[in-house]
Point group: C2
Chain length 352, copies 2
């Protein structure tokens, strides 16, 4: 899934180039390319399917030239993840009715690749055995209020880290998040799901029948030009819904596998700061030649080989690109969305 | 005079491009070009003489293509202003032994052009009448500790704002500067001097005979290739000395004309801030599309059409160029020199 359009990393992420398409860590690979790489070690490239908004078609083709054009699914409208997953399930089932697949956001970071591979291996084994929907859950190490949480129900067995899903809660308040973490019953939802294509279709049929019926057509309509025509017609008419609420939160056969993946959704500068290597004053510097004097817990990111000198700042973001510079307290990062709106109004869309 | 090499406006000023060669206010003119323009309204262009370090020869020719190459005096070594003024006096006297001239720094700003022209007119009238050295002095409006001060002696007459110079004091401490300002006897030294060429030569003969004798040669040596050869030999051997201490502070015939020119030596970011238009929070923004949220008394300067967003800073400099960005408290600006040294060591001279 690589159709998201966030602005929270402005000026690095732009409307025309959201964060999955950015070389976030200055490694030479964008987050999308890193995610594709991570998957290609487990899944042959011809079985990798991308779903994105049609405005990013060209960017996706450029960044992943090895993916067959037929496997780049272009959404004609933004409808969140439920229709995207349902479309993908039909697209896959039309090619192999018994296939299982993993659904992955393309703009997250996973540091523990071996544990990730092991989790996928165990996850596929689990969902291929029966009609099951499986989420990966991360140990909730602190009360983050911008994550989605999965409450574990009964364990599947004693040693497997597999449990039923009791409920899914999105972005709890501060107090609620603290209760979640203290209880030990809640995991962070990584947004990574494993399932068979036919289990997905069956879950939609049961829990979201109206949406399911729109997509319930002959497999021939999930191939080539027919597929594009069919989707252009049906996709804009469907509801916008996240897949976890459409099926996982409602189904009786939904499970969570607890795994420590070194995961971050990189949803905010603070999340990026948390996961990045820091100097002894807690400063993170990316892609620049930096000199920090009397700075603490700052994140300084620039493009190119720029020299950045910062003196006397604490808990600040300094983010510099070719045509925009942001200097803002980390705690004010939720205002970046408003800032981007102000910029669009004042200076025009070329800066957002 | 356009040979200075300051780094206090890094990253805007660079060793290869000190501040006189920069379009400081984004008006399309560098400080040097503005100074030349200011002078050309009073002095024919063929009588404008530039003195600079030889490393800036090309820059000067580019920025002022109308100046005759013979009138661009290239210092083969840095020796402060006394040898520069003495050379210029001989260069001028060789062409017209009775000529008077005004010596001007090229990197200052003067906002009250009409008062400046009036001061020069009166100044020339005064020094052309007799053997006199004249400085322009500004009302000392606050106890600046980085300026040079001129103490007025007896007035020349009641109404002319002309006085003898009692003494010149460079960069007083805080307490001393306060005493200077309270006394009403001290003016800021603008570094602008008027005199006849022969008065300058005579003052050097009297007060700095060793230096004077080096330059006391046939007028033929102040022309064409002979001049370059002579200077290449003599200039590096002379002492380094500021002209105000070489002659003005010692001579019995030195005077000061008080004039309010709307002058700033632009020696620091703070000086630039003081002289620039501010919004109601006291912020100054230059050459950029800026959005300032909750900022006070900041100076934000960028090159090109960059968008700069700053949130929550007070008393800060934000200065952004193509390959360098500085974010630093205004009060720490005297450390910029050290910062530039650090950068040269760490990242190389291309950033300084």
């Amino acid at each position: 899934m690589c159709g998201g359009a966030g602005t929270r990393f402005w000026p690095f992420s732009r409307e025309s180039r959201p964060k999955q398409f950015i070389d976030f860590f200055g490694t030479g690979q964008t987050l999308l390319q890193m995610t594709a790489d991570r998957v290609r070690r487990l899944v042959p490239e011809e079985n990798v399917i991308l779903i994105t908004n049609e405005q990013y078609a060209e960017t996706v083709r450029e960044q992943l030239p090895g993916i067959s054009p037929e496997h780049i699914l272009l959404e004609p409208a933004r409808r969140d993840t439920a229709p995207a997953v349902l479309w993908a399930a039909h697209h896959i089932a039309a090619r192999n009715p018994e296939a299982s697949f993993v659904t992955l956001p393309s703009d997250h970071v996973i540091l523990r690749e071996t544990d990730f591979q092991e989790a996928l291996r165990r996850g596929f084994e689990f969902v291929e055995k029966a009609d099951r929907l499986l989420a990966l859950g991360l140990p909730a190490s602190y009360p983050n209020t911008s994550y989605s949480y999965i409450q574990k129900g009964d364990p599947v067995d004693q040693n497997s880290h597999l449990s039923y899903i009791k409920t899914i809660a999105e972005k709890p308040g501060k107090e609620m998040a603290e209760i979640f973490v203290r209880s030990g019953e809640f995991l962070w939802n990584a947004g990574i799901y494993l399932w068979k294509a036919k289990s997905v279709i069956s879950a939609f049929n049961k829990d979201v029948p109206e949406m399911a019926s729109r997509f319930d057509v002959s497999p021939d309509l999930y191939r080539g030009d027919a597929e594009m025509g069919f989707i252009a017609d049906v996709y804009p008419k469907t509801s916008s819904l996240p897949v976890e609420y459409a099926i996982l939160d409602r189904a009786a056969n939904s499970y969570v596998l607890e795994a420590n993946l070194g995961w971050s959704d990189l949803s905010t500068w603070n999340a990026l700061h948390a996961i990045s290597p820091k100097n002894k004053e807690g400063n993170v510097t990316q892609n620049c030649r930096s000199l920090l004097y009397d700075c603490q817990h700052c994140i300084v990111a620039a493009e190119g080989k720029k020299v950045v000198v910062v003196s006397g700042l604490k808990d600040y973001i300094v983010a510099d690109t070719d045509n925009a510079l942001l200097i803002c307290p980390i705690e004010a990062e939720q205002r970046i969305r408003n800032i981007v709106n102000d910029i669009r109004e004042r200076f025009g869309p070329e800066f957002t």
